[in-house]
């Protein structure tokens, strides 16, 4: 067993993990964070994407011990007290969800992209989501959703700014 300290969705944990355990298994089986999906198990599909220290990784390609000392965000960590995260809302509003299996990974890749580039072009969105496969549909609605999410986030920011200036 190997002892690791890490943060999941802003909460710190210390756990003993088997040396051969992958991060995806740790999240799903030990923490019951089953929003993280396992698809291909070889880093092709991106369904198991989580954000580790600000960057997306495929949790099927990361050993649990590699997460020691890191800060992880899963899809469960996005929801806020007042409801869905603007990116989640945008995916619903744009009709970008069909079976939903790829959606958690898509949303987290979108978040990592928008955190770095708040106003991406369609090409940049496609590039940012190139590690996430959707087998239901084409990608147009998903790209629409990310563009819409960018708009929602900017509106939220300007609302926050005007509220602050009123104070």
């Amino acid at each position: 067993m190997f002892r690791i300290n890490f943060t999941i969705n802003n909460k710190g944990y210390t756990v003993d993990v088997d040396e051969a355990l992958r991060l995806v298994d740790l999240l799903r089986d030990k923490f019951q964070l089953t929003g993280t999906k396992e698809g291909c198990a070889e880093g092709e599909c991106g369904a198991c994407t989580v954000i580790m220290d600000g960057r997306t990784v495929q949790s099927c390609l990361v050993m649990a011990f590699q997460a020691d000392g890191s800060n992880i965000t899963t899809i469960e960590g996005l929801e806020r007290e007042d409801g869905l995260h603007p990116i989640q809302r945008a995916f619903l509003d744009a009709g970008a969800v069909q079976c939903g299996f790829c959606t958690p990974g898509m949303v987290l890749s979108s978040k990592a992209l928008l955190d770095k580039n708040s106003n991406p072009s369609r090409e940049e969105i496609r590039e940012g989501l190139s590690g996430n496969l959707c087998r239901c549909t084409g990608y147009n609605k998903i790209v629409d959703a990310v563009a819409l999410a960018s708009k929602y986030l900017k509106e939220e920011e300007s609302d926050g700014a005007s509220e602050n200036s009123r104070k």
Binding site: F2, E19, A20, R22, A41, E42, G43, E44, G46, T49, M52, R55, T56, V57, Q58, C60, L61, V62, M63, F65, Q66, D68, G69, S109, A112, E127, G128, S130, G131, N132, L133
Partner: protein, 289 residues
């Protein structure tokens, strides 16, 4: 079956462990290839030596004469480095074409080299740059040209007590440029079916003073195409010359891949890919004035 995972706190401790039990341990950095082997029970050693977090292995130093990249540097860090993009476009493009964003966020350039894959994207440009590898062990340092590092498919000249510390090559100057092209089955997440990287040094606009050509996925490991280099060196570049050389390249591929089902495709595809890469390299060299 993994029985133990060791995460030393110093590089010195890593080298001590490699020195004492190098044959029983496997190094893990990004792990994007290794984790799949572990899962598929193809991994035979009992211990993992985790070197992922060593800051000492993560650096990109570009000096006037030499450039060195730490083996633990992640592809994303290379892709986000504007200097690399400006000076070594071919290397930058190759790093950007590795896997997908998630893989580039974990995968390291040292892992890509040491894994010994014939299709490793970052290797052809490093071969074209005539890079050297700096291998370190407990008591010594060994410098080995990258072109001598590959022994066979998946087999490299890393001794059991050694760690790849950095990759070093000349910083490109005026009239020098490097290009990279790859053919995969799709735009992203594609394993190279063929890749080609060319370094070129021009003189008086179109005269090739020096050229180094490297290919990936056209044999047991990425390799230099010295025969072609000889045909192009000290020549005035022209469409006719490029056509002749690309035909010869097709012939080489045909001989090398004889009996393999991919031969017919690769024989044809390499010729266009070679010409495109060569033209890009010339353009790069002309840009660096």
């Amino acid at each position: 079956m993994i029985r133990q995972c060791i995460t030393p706190s110093t590089l010195e401790a890593v080298l001590n462990i490699l020195d004492e039990e190098g044959k029983d341990v496997e190094l893990i950095a990004g792990g994007t290839d290794l984790v799949i082997d572990i899962r598929n029970e193809k991994f035979k050693k009992s211990k993992l030596l985790n070197i992922a977090k060593f800051k000492l292995l993560k650096f990109i130093n570009i000096n006037e004469d030499k450039t060195s990249i730490g083996s633990g540097t992640k592809f994303t860090d290379i892709v986000e480095n504007g200097e690399v993009e400006k000076l070594f476009l071919g290397l930058w493009k190759a790093c950007k074409s590795v896997g997908a964003p998630q893989i580039r966020n974990m995968g390291t350039i040292g892992g890509n080299i040491c894994n010994g894959s014939p299709a490793a994207d970052s290797v052809p440009p490093l071969l074209a740059l005539d890079a050297n590898l700096i291998m370190i062990s407990k008591d010594k340092e060994r410098v080995i040209p990258l072109r001598e590092f590959y022994l066979d498919k998946g087999r490299v000249d890393r001794r059991e007590d050694e760690l790849l510390y950095a990759i070093k090559f000349n910083t490109l100057k005026r009239n020098e440029g490097i290009a990279f092209e790859k053919l995969g089955l799709r735009k992203a997440l594609a394993i190279s079916r063929i890749s080609c990287s060319i370094y070129i040094q021009l003189e008086k606009n179109d005269y090739i003073k020096n050229i180094r050509i490297a290919t990936g996925a056209l044999g047991k490991y990425p390799q230099r195409e010295v025969e072609l280099e000889c045909m192009l060196k000290n020549q005035e570049i022209s469409t006719g010359l490029l056509n002749t050389v690309s035909k010869h390249m097709s012939h080489i591929v045909e001989q090398r891949l004889k009996g393999r089902s991919s031969m017919h495709f690769k024989r044809s595809a390499i010729s266009g890919l070679f010409i495109k890469t060569c033209k890009d390299a010339v353009e790069e060299a002309k840009k660096n004035v």
